[in-house]
């Protein structure tokens, strides 16, 4: 009834902070006893483009092996892209000098899925949270302490927690610590890789709400990696759906959820669990499993599992079509 309200055009006025353009990551497959020989390439990420805008959240959804985590790793400079560019505020980071790289490092932080492995068990909370500041900022001890105390308060913990070790915290609290650490250098972008999926159900909402509150307070953008569609709908302004290393559909959240167009997106939404027993779901269960990214199918990568497959799908790579402002899909149906 209020389609005009969600007009994505109003949102596009926000400045583009971080941009990926044609990003690819191919891992070599080697064989051989003594001298290893490359026999193939796993195309984990194969030409992905998206934009993260200031103060907004972009969600990347997909099943395991679709390349969403590898994409995140490239943005975090944990993996070197095989091809394509990453631009931060218009500056290409591949060409950046060491000073600019350092600036990038402290502008883009991360929170990972597993709260048990993302905090060094041998460091006190104080040192854990301060580590990014120690490396990147030139602060006095006093300033550092004050900042840690403030961060702890901001994420809903108390300053006396600073002296404890991670094992004294529960999963949800650890995730709060990880968030505090990520915020410590006041980054512009935080990559959230499945930040709530390892937590108990009753804790998830706490963390999601906390993240949204902090977004306003710190004016930070999020890149949210998730497999749970409802989480993405709740938290994101923009959504990209990935399948086998490629983005198959991309658009503003409401538009995309209301008018899901790519067969894969629709299959994902139908496969997702309903929030009420009376909700009738379209019967559209995909057969088979995700093919190996080592030898992805020709043409459209989704065609072997697609219910609407046409002859040309196995031959031609689909073009990108813009269905509505900002809502693009790559499928021969459109």
């Amino acid at each position: 009834m209020t389609t005009l309200e969600a007009n994505p055009v109003t949102q596009t006025t926000n400045e583009v902070l971080l941009e990926a353009d044609g990003l690819k990551k191919h891992f070599p497959v080697t064989k051989g006893l003594l001298v290893s020989k490359v026999t193939g390439w796993i195309k984990a990420v194969d030409g992905v483009s998206f934009q993260v805008r200031a103060g907004e959240t972009l969600g990347i959804v997909g099943e395991s092996g679709c390349g969403k985590s590898t994409t995140a790793k490239m943005l975090l400079m944990l993996e070197e892209p095989t091809e394509g560019t990453i631009r931060y505020q218009g500056q290409e980071i591949r060409d950046a000098n060491s000073e600019q790289r350092r600036a990038y490092r402290s502008s883009v932080q991360a929170v990972f899925q597993d709260p048990w492995s993302s905090l060094n068990p041998r460091m006190r909370v104080r040192d854990l949270i301060a580590e990014p500041m120690v490396i990147n900022l030139n602060l006095s001890r006093r300033e550092m302490q004050d900042r840690v105390a403030k961060l702890l308060n901001d994420v809903g913990l108390s300053s006396y927690h600073a002296n404890l070790y991670p094992h004294e915290f529960s999963g949800g609290q650890r995730q709060r610590l990880a968030i505090a650490r990520a915020l410590s250098v006041e980054p512009r972008v935080i990559v959230l890789d499945e930040p709530v999926s390892a937590l108990d159900v009753s804790i998830r909402a706490q963390i999601m709400n906390l993240l949204m509150d902090l977004q306003n307070e710190y004016n930070v953008s999020y890149l949210l990696i998730a497999h749970h569609l409802a989480t993405v709908r709740y938290m994101c302004d923009w959504v990209a759906v990935m399948y086998l290393g490629q983005i198959v559909e991309y658009g503003p959240t409401k538009e995309l959820f209301d008018n899901a167009s790519h067969p894969y997106t629709r299959a994902l939404m139908n496969a997702a669990l309903p929030s009420h027993p009376d909700i009738e779901q379209e019967e559209m269960i995909l057969t088979g499993e995700v093919p190996s990214p080592l030898n992805p199918p020709e043409g459209c990568r989704f065609h072997p599992r697609c219910p609407f497959v046409m002859e040309r799908c196995s031959r031609d790579i689909p073009e990108v079509t813009e269905l509505a402002p900002g809502h693009i899909v790559s499928c021969h149906l459109y």
């Binding site: 099943e63 529960s170 009753s202 909402a205 706490q206 999601m208 709740y234 309903p274 009420h276 057969t287």
Partner: protein, 330 residues
């Protein structure tokens, strides 16, 4: 609301009454399951929902009599499977029942199959144990069961080993083991948590079909209300070792009567609509060795009253088939 009226006439196959399973630990007695009662009818799906530490998995292990003893022990209660009390059975009698009348699908497909035996061997084992039939028939049955769970090319895959299969396929094999002897009751312990969304959908559909085909009583252990909405007829919500609310699935979703159920339902984001802000339950799930007196949910409850802190609430009926343990219903 004209729900929960029609079915429910099928015979009760499993009746659990006042089940208590305690563990002796260094920190004292942990009452992992503390007085749980429910029943299950033929062809019905019962969901047991809870977070980690709620006692749902210990309930499942107790039903199978697979509690490691020591430190665990079923201290009280009855588990009547078609009238026979499983709690009173000795090991040998229990072995005969396990796998043939009451079967289990466990959570992690990566670790629940023995890496050194072939798929066919592992599926056929239960058949060999429980049915006195010649070897050739066993092989035939294994193939049948594998086809039932939609394993493509079952004839060749029986010789495969678990590491040669994907997670989804392995979980199908675990499912095949579960139904191989056509049990009366099948317990599925979070069988899809480690599967991808589309694979999960396939698996749930398969389970539903299998259940309907052989009219199995299915107990679904999960932490996810989405699965309950999709699969279950009735739900039991567990918190700190007890059932805090139980009823028909629609009753629970439409009229959650325990504040915990209500809060949980409100804290889950929805795929179908925009939610401005989720309700968030403050605090942590309690640790079982250090439970407060009174209602264990009281410290996190938005409606907490003085009485809640003093006495554990009684069960109050909301409808004939729906009750909750909360003083607000008094």
């Amino acid at each position: 609301m004209t729900t929960s009226t029609t079915e429910n006439t099928a015979p009760v196959v499993l009746e659990v009454d006042g089940l208590k399973t305690y563990f002796e630990t260094r920190w004292g007695t942990v009452k992992a399951v503390d007085g749980v009662s429910f029943n299950l009818r033929r062809g019905e799906t019962l969901g047991i929902v809870g977070e980690s530490g709620s006692g749902k998995s210990v309930t499942m292990l107790s039903l199978m009599r697979l509690i490691p003893e020591p430190p665990g022990r079923i201290v009280d209660g009855q588990i009547l499977l078609e009238g026979q009390d499983l709690v009173q059975m000795n090991d040998k009698e229990m072995s005969e029942i396990r796998g043939s009348q009451i079967a289990l699908i466990i959570q992690d497909p990566m670790t629940s199959l023995n890496p050194v035996f072939s798929i066919g061997n592992q599926v056929g084992e239960a058949i060999k144990i429980h049915q006195d039939i010649p070897k050739r028939t066993v092989v035939q049955q294994v193939l049948n069961v594998l086809r039932k769970v939609n394993i493509p090319a079952a004839e060749t895959r029986v010789r495969d080993y678990p590491h040669q299969m994907s997670g989804g396929m392995r979980q199908r094999v675990v499912g095949a083991i579960g139904i191989s002897c056509e049990p009366i009751v099948l317990i599925a312990d979070e069988p899809t948590t480690s599967l991808d969304v589309t694979i999960q959908a396939q698996y749930l559909k398969l389970l539903k079909e299998l259940q309907e085909a052989s009219n199995i009583g299915l107990i679904f252990i999960t932490h996810d209300f989405g699965i309950v909405a999709k699969m279950c007829d009735r739900v039991a919500v567990m918190y700190a070792g007890r059932i805090v609310e139980m009823g028909d699935v629609r009753d629970i979703f439409n009229h959650p009567s325990h504040p915990y159920t209500e809060a949980l339902l409100a804290s889950v984001p929805k795929l179908e609509e925009d939610v401005d802000r989720l309700y968030s339950i403050e605090g942590q799930p309690p640790t079982l060795h250090d439970l407060p007196t009174g209602c264990p949910f009281a410290p996190r409850c938005q409606y907490v009253m003085d009485k809640c802190l003093e006495t554990y609430p009684l069960q109050f009926d909301v409808t004939d088939s729906h009750y909750a343990a909360c003083w607000r219903l008094e």
